[in-house]
Amino acid sequence: MNLFSEIWIVARHSVRVALRNPMTIIVGLLQPVTWMLLFAPLLNNLPTTAGFAPGQAINSFTPGMLVMLAPITSLFSGIGLVVELREGVLDRLRVTPVSRLAVVLGKAARDLVVLLLQGILLLLVAWAMGLNVSFVGIVGALGLMLIVGLLMISVSYGFALMLRDENAVASISNVLLLPLLLLSGLILPLEFAPGWMQRVADLNPLAYTVDAMRALFAGQFASGAILNGFLVTAVLAALGLFWATRSFHRALA
């Protein structure tokens, strides 16, 4: 069996099982819609204070929302893994000949499907509010969002297998979430931040992602920010995946 068919088997099964609980998915999908509906009206008065071109606020706000979606949805994926660890499901999977990377990626794929649907919904709402973005920009943006998602899922799986406790995974995710988001400039541009804060933000990988996302939306495809953003995010996602797979390989329970 090759890696892709293994990933496909795990992903298809996980999606099928997740669909047994459609309510969870529906509530998840509503989340980005409510954000847009609650945040966007505030944008109307933003241009004058923040120096955005009139009517352009939604264009600089939506990429931030897309980046924010990934950690908020995916950083908590590990909680389900703790339950599976305790019930012996992971042990059962680890005794099969299936590659451990395939198990991690297959499970992650289920969460990424949900994330993708959320992203598309968010873009639709933004479009209804006057978002103006090229097709290439959208494809690039969703692709970048999925890489952030994979990074967050891997990190969450890594924590889950290390801590083996749902509450601990939830707390650490919460602790990480807010600084990660605020220091990425995705809610308000970091140009407003004092010098020390910008220095700290330079260390935040999501800040590069947000820059890349904004460039994609602005159609500045020649900008180095896009390459940087993809590169930083992808390298981190690969490291995260390596950590998660290794932890899964070693999981005792």
Partner: protein, 318 residues
């Protein structure tokens, strides 16, 4: 040829500053084509040994081959030929029984119609057809355990490990699980199971290793183990208030080899039960002990365990 060969296997767990010696040097050969039982009390190391043999855990030292493959250098090959039903099971609670089984079949490389027919076959064999479409979280303990068993044998492994296969089952489900294990064995699958039920070890296993505190203390067929005890057990039933007095009385008698207190009973191990019985009754009569019942038994596996470890296996169970 042996399906499993183990040499000097050791495993320690560190939790904080405590070190638990879960396995203290296991040497064991499991012959081909047998139902092999690992019998031992809670914490003996049964699960740890199985987790090492199924590649889930790495031993600190020692060597083992499983179906001819070295655990250390060929763990992927080992995984391809074994099945494992863990103590906790491992079915996905949110998925149905059928979904669990189909997924497992696909993980072992089956496709399409092959999956359906194998799953149907297993559902029928373990009488799970009527509940196959329900999420596993709605199953009773016995139904769930039968599903676990089905999951372990989907791919017809050459060697199946069962960690406490019948724990928590009513006698009927238990008999069904035993039947299935025997059928599997008849079809050529080697089986290694752990249990702390003496009757299970006695009824199901052709060969037993008794494991206690991380060591194998005896290994033979159930009959062979009992034969080594070479003696009989006399069980005197009497009020708890008189058990101590009775023990004092018999502890000075040279023809009594071992004495063990039990609730409302005293267990005496003697060489020749038929000859010892009159002498025992004579003593009881002289002392005026109000005994309620007398039974003469062949030794059980519990007596074997008692002999090997100085403790009763039943004491450890609660």
């Amino acid at each position: 040829m042996s399906v499993i060969e183990i040499h000097g296997l050791k495993k320690q767990f560190k939790s904080g500053k405590n070190i638990v010696e879960a396995l203290r040097g296991i040497d064991l050969n499991v012959p081909q084509g047998q139902i092999f039982g690992l019998l031992g009390p809670n914490g003996a190391g049964k699960t740890t040994l199985l987790r090492i043999l199924t590649t889930l855990l790495q031993a600190d030292s020692g060597e083992a081959t499983v179906v001819g493959h070295s655990l250390r250098s060929a763990s992927a090959e080992v995984r391809r030929v074994i099945g494992y039903v863990s103590q906790k099971g491992g079915a996905e609670a949110a998925a149905t029984g059928r979904e669990n089984l189909s997924f497992q079949a696909q993980l072992y490389g089956m496709r399409g119609a092959q999956v359906t027919s194998r799953v149907d076959e297993l559902l029928a064999a373990l009488e799970l057809e009527s509940i196959a479409g329900r999420p596993v979280q709605t199953y009773s303990g016995g139904q769930r355990r039968r599903l676990d068993l089905a999951l372990g044998m989907v791919h017809r492994p050459a060697l199946l490990f069962l960690d406490e296969p019948s724990v928590g089952l009513d006698p009927q489900s238990r008999a069904r699980v035993w039947d299935e294990v025997r059928r599997l064995h008849d079809s050529g699958t080697a089986i290694v199971l752990t249990t702390h039920y003496l009757d299970e070890a006695d009824a199901l296993c052709e060969r037993i290793a008794i494991i206690d505190q991380g060591q194998i203390v005896a290994e033979d067929s159930p009959e062979g183990l009992k034969r080594k005890i070479a003696g009989d057990v006399v069980l005197l039933g009497l009020d708890n208030g008189h058990v101590i007095a009775a023990q004092e009385l018999f502890s000075t008698q040279s023809f009594i080899r071992e004495i063990k207190q039990e609730p409302e009973a005293l267990r005496l191990l003697v060489d020749e039960g038929e000859q010892a019985l009159p002498a025992i009754l004579q003593l009881v009569h002289e002392r005026g002990l109000p005994i309620r019942t007398v039974a003469l038994n062949r030794p059980s596996l519990d007596d074997v365990f008692l002999r090997q470890t100085g403790r009763s296996l039943r004491d450890d169970l609660n």
